[in-house]
Symmetry: C2
Subunit: 199 residues, 2 copies
């Protein structure tokens, strides 16, 4: 079995649930928000603030994966975002070295590439994602279908930009993953159980 499993996912596709169930079924550690908490502790920023930075696209438009050093001068938010990314990179590597685990999001497939992780990407059609968001209480009645759709697309756009910025690769592009799973019309519990047997 591969020690490290990474899960990239479209917003509302159930990727996080799949990751959590998979970790449970395999009896290994599971990380997503926990990483952020850890980062927050280290950098002494509030969890909410860090979350916001990590979930949103980086402000500058040149990729950092090319490995050049650059001067962000007094432009604090950019520096802060990059600091958080590097903190996150360190923590992910420490975790991966410690024990087998499932990691959802956070460019883990790229950051942990030297660990040869099994890389999953979870996606579904927009209707499924909207239903899922509603069922999870995101939006409830206050938000129209049109606005919910926009919200989902914006989150995915931010994730894509964040991923591309830090990895130089296209988010959701098949070749970056070992397995891409369409959760449209499927039971995530069942998928997790099958995957656990496979892995």
């Amino acid at each position: 079995m591969k020690k490290i499993i990474t899960v990239g996912r479209e917003f509302g596709s159930g990727g996080r649930e799949l990751g959590r169930r998979l970790a449970e079924a395999l009896g290994v550690a599971y990380y997503d928000k926990e990483i952020i908490v850890e980062i927050a502790k280290r950098t002494e920023l509030s969890e909410q603030y860090v979350n916001n930075i990590v979930e949103n696209k980086p402000l500058v438009s040149y990729p950092i994966h090319v490995g050049v050093s650059f001067n962000t001068g007094n432009f604090a938010p950019v520096q802060q975002k990059n600091n958080i990314y590097y903190e996150q990179e360190q923590i992910l590597k420490e975790m991966a070295e410690k024990a087998p685990c499932v990691i959802v999001g956070r460019c883990a497939d790229h950051i942990l590439r030297e660990f040869d992780p099994f890389r999953i990407f979870v996606y579904s059609d927009l209707e499924t994602k909207m239903r899922r968001c509603r069922s999870k209480g995101i939006g409830e009645e206050e938000i129209s279908d049109k606005d919910l759709k926009k919200y989902i697309q914006r989150v995915d756009k931010n994730r894509a930009e964040y991923y591309e910025f830090y990895t130089g690769k296209k988010w959701g592009e098949k070749l970056n993953y070992d397995l891409c799973i369409n959760t449209t019309g499927t039971d995530i519990k069942m998928i997790a159980s099958v995957l656990a047997k496979m892995l």
Copy 2:
């Protein structure tokens, strides 16, 4: 279990082997070239000729999936290609009605969409595809790496155009499949066995 499993695949990715092994493991019928033979029998064209038509991109550039009738006049090759596609469509549907099966290629995921098939797409990186082609005796020593690469890319381009022409959808686009499997660095026998258990 879903009765019909369709396998789309990049050339050299091992999709056909995966389909065959999957059918064996499930104890269901397997089709790819057999369909062509059947078409050849019906239309009384030689198998080689039909193969050539099906593998290559259609000559006309308007999609037929929109369902309008059109006049190809005396332009026999186009009419012949379309006839073969419709023959193929009929045969696939007859087969799907008869018994559970695995079908590789031939736009089966689209043609049999009313049967709610489990749709797999198999892909891998170019190096893996080149190695696979060499190991299967395609090219042997007579063809340079550069030419083999070009050949693989041309076949895939033709498949993409053929699929797009007849289905109006993008070949290899994740949302058109339930599962996308990267065969880079994996054992196809193992994948087939796991998939069989899952399905």
